[in-house]
Symmetry: C2
Subunit: 557 residues, 2 copies
């Protein structure tokens, strides 16, 4: 039922303000459903206005953090962010070399994807890593990396380091640079164009000149979307392009509208963290890049302004609250548990109704029971029709079959009603000509109404209170009858057959089937809070109808 | 549309393995939809087997991290975890005193809730804080705390520090201890009983002896839940109880089943982080404790085993993936964007059909157009019935009204069809006696079928491809007609009226209305991936029907 989480590791700096570094990484990991762990290369005191202080981690302690992780956890992918200095870069390389060794006994470790975000130049163009550290990065970290993700300035710095052409001004320069950067030995290079501006016409020209390069446009209202442009902002004139070059030969251009936003603090961290998650899940470089780019793009475009400077992204845009808990061994029916809990009084008034107690004690006046049986007989006609409607609404053979079986069980159940009537001297003719009470019509017609209004799950929800309630009553009476000092009894009870029918194997199997059916739906198709509330209302209404049904039988309405 | 996130701060240690410390806090913050920031008191190298190393943060740098945060961000609640030593505890107190001062100009800062998890004893009973640090905690941090959350050992240590009775062995001891701990000046004390074992009968006795104390049971299958116990684990004999005592006088006992689990690393961090989120959102101490306890309980009960020792909790149990992006200014219709994108070819084949091009160029043979108009006339009968069914399925007056308006518009639209027929010499009699094509019946009956199967959103989905497609065709023809060199023309086109009708204000307003309707539903009631896929299938099928409709008119099927 529960899947083992995918574990990913970030080796990066800590950003106190929570927008970049391991904080951005951990948030991204959570948003992409991965288990995150982290080794901190340096603490920073920073906020959206700038970096106010840095406290580097001693290299030996950085190494120790990474060791602690690898000696216990199965890491499925790794990213490196800010490594801070030469010593820490060396420490990371040294440790990763030890733990990324292919291990025939441990398939997970055979080749752990490594995404290296070569943080070496600040947004303002300031070099963050000294030349020695850059050499270590190039010579030792890149060759064991699956993907490196430099931005324009970083790419230029890296290329200059090898005296390669380094001025990146347009898409053609990006293409050449990304291919040249492959010489450092990573499997792929994702050259990020966020600091360059391109246009639709430049992309078209580039695409025409390089027919072998796939262009993937993201977040754009493109052809055959005239209707969507009406309420939207004017079409973007400025675009952002990233180029992915892979050592196997292929190149892909990812194009997105430039977003005019201040919420860009930690964009590089977020992208490389998302790439790490996707690679950990087994995606190809191309698909991981596509998914991670759109995740990052949406994180920027949905961000609210936080802080007075360059604020963080909205890493949580892609998650919503799960309203029904996941099933566990101790609580295998969390949806039903919620429904009962949320209407505890109505449910108790129903399943421990005076009618039930008196029936269990054998003191229920016979007239009340007969009244109930007659009205329940009419109710079963609606109940059978509601299951027939469920069959008609089902789109799978198994759905049609399950619903139809229920119709047949209900028709069979009416035989019991006729028997009871015969036992109490009520002829079939009298039964059929008994007027249907308003309480019966209200409940029965409500089932059909819910069936008309909504989907099959909502219809099931309306059928559940009856099924589960009678199951509960059956089990409760049986349990009470066994309790010392209880007045409830089965033997010698005039209503013994009724109790045995509802506590019996067949009916309880139907209860279990109904429980499983809705619980499975809640797991496979988790309801939003709005839908859950709709279900709760249907459940509550039916529970109240059930109580009213017994009130009515006792002449109490 | 997008709410400003609630910002919460953790001041704690870093756990490299990701299960405790700021990592557990940041994951909990994300899971509870808060924006997290963090000040690191110490780095640890640890995993699920133990702590392999600690690197404390210099006090001045700890202070600087907190300063950077408060000087830029509006913090709504704070938690403190492991403070490590006396100097760091002092640094935290000093800085918080500065920034937690009530500020009449800044309502958020007026009284920021502070949750203090007094981490001073390890699980094995080892003292983590020296006695001086404990004094600072008690004398300086507790008085400014909203809530302190000691476990048994911590509570005993704190009480001994003041020479108060300190042996906590049962619920009565817990009650006394939690009340005594209030003398340190926090508004509330949540004494955690995870290291004590209690039972149902002890809780019942306690509850009888203290009728003024509210008992809240959580995660339990209690009365009137016989049916839920059938498939579940046997009822727990061992319970865990936490006691919340509030300085205003009230006391609440929270009781849960003890979970037999190894996934408990970071339980205290998780609980205090969740408490912080709930207090930040404005919950009372009682409600915050209730919500945070159940969050933590579910995080343990749904956790999968990670690592070889005491593994982390499943912080992400309460979130699920949002399948449809949130609307943004540049993409206000993300659901429709997704539907069009995911069936791009079928959509293009439909809205740029040869029928449409030839109609736009004025070259469409008249016989094709007449055939189309006749069949579209029959289709509109289904289309009107489908909207009537939508009205019947609606449960609000506005829903009934909107659907009924559409029925009336469609009836009005048939007038246009009759006019076209008259114009081309087709009498009403001939129109009515024309046989309905199978393509028309297939599409029309499918709408009614979807309306029977599902809820109103699914039915709307089936009605959308026609509405949006004709809107798209209208706008596209109009735009093309304006493009230099295009063969599409409106003036002098024999089908001018048709183009003007569908590109006109009235029809486009209906398109906008339809777009808004489904996009609003996707925001208010976010679909699961299963539901979204059902919608996509309906959309695709209708898009193919639309293309087929024009193929049919051109004699191509």
């Amino acid at each position: 039922m529960l899947e083992m989480p995918t574990t990913v590791l970030t080796i990066a700096g800590s950003d106190s303000s929570g927008g970049a570094g391991i904080q951005a990484d951990l948030k991204t990991f959570a948003a992409l459903d991965c288990y995150g762990c982290s080794a901190v290369t340096a603490l920073t005191a920073q906020n959206t206005l700038g970096v106010q202080g840095v406290h580097p981690t001693p290299p030996a302690f950085l190494e120790q953090q990474i060791q602690s992780i690898f000696e216990d956890l199965d890491v499925h992918a790794i990213k490196t962010g800010m490594l801070y200095d030469t010593e820490n870069t060396r420490a990371v390389v040294r440790t990763l070399r030890t733990f990324m060794k292919p291990d025939p006994d441990n398939p997970v470790r055979q080749s752990i994807p490594l995404v290296c975000d070569p943080v070496c130049v600040s947004t303002s163009g300031h070099t963050l890593l000294d030349p020695t550290a850059v050499s270590v990065l190039i010579e030792e970290l890149f060759p064991i990396s699956t993907l490196i993700t430099p931005n324009k300035s970083e790419a230029e710095l890296l290329l200059r380091h090898r005296e390669l052409p380094a001025d990146i001004r347009n898409l053609d320069d990006m293409l050449v640079a990304s291919k040249n950067l492959l010489i450092f030995g990573s499997k792929g290079v994702l050259l990020k164009g966020g600091h360059l501006i391109t246009t639709t016409s430049e992309v078209t020209q580039f695409s025409t000149a390089h027919p072998d390069i796939t262009v993937i446009s993201q977040g754009m209202l493109d052809e055959n979307m005239e209707i969507l442009k009406v309420g939207a902002l004017p079409e973007p004139t400025e675009l952002v392009a990233d180029v992915l070059s892979i050592s196997s030969g292929s190149t892909i251009l990812f194009v997105r509208p430039r977003i005019d936003s201040n919420s860009t603090h930690g964009t590089g961290c977020t992208l490389s963290a998302a790439l790490t998650c996707e690679l950990a899940k087994g995606q190809s470089l191309e698909e991981a890049t596509r998914l991670a780019s759109i995740f990052t793009y949406s994180s920027i475009s949905t961000a609210q302004s936080i802080g007075r400077g360059h604020g963080p992204l909205n890493h949580l845009h892609g998650i919503s609250r799960r309203c029904v808990s996941l099933p566990t061994k101790s609580n295998p029916y969390p949806l039903t548990h919620y429904l009962i809990r949320s209407n505890a009084k109505a449910w108790k008034d129903y399943v421990e109704h005076a009618f039930v107690r008196q029936l269990g004690e054998g003191t229920l006046p016979q007239g009340y029971f007969v009244h109930f049986i007659k009205q329940d007989y009419f109710y079963l006609k609606y109940y059978a029709r509601a299951y027939a409607l469920l069959a008609a609404k089902s789109t799978t053979f198994s759905g049609i079959q399950d619903a139809t079986k229920s119709v047949l069980s209900i028709l069979h159940e009416t035989g019991m009603h006729k028997q009871f009537c015969a036992q109490y001297g009520v002829s079939e003719e009298e039964l059929e000509s008994t007027p249907e009470d308003a309480a019966t019509t209200a409940y029965g017609a409500y089932l059909i109404d819910v069936g008309l209004q909504g989907d099959t799950t909502k219809l099931l929800m309306s059928l559940l209170s009856c099924l589960l309630g009678y199951g509960e009553v059956g089990l409760w009476l049986k349990k009470e009858a066994e309790r010392e000092g209880s007045l409830i009894r089965i033997e010698g009870n005039p209503y013994k057959k009724w109790i045995e029918d509802y506590s019996g194997k067949d009916f309880q199997a139907a209860v279990k089937f109904g429980l499983d059916a809705i619980e499975t739906r809640a797991v496979d198709d988790p309801p939003s809070s709005k839908r859950l509330e709709e279900w709760r209302v249907v459940w509550e209404k039916c529970t109240l109808f059930e109580k009213g049904f017994w009130d009515n039988a006792m002449g109490r309405d």
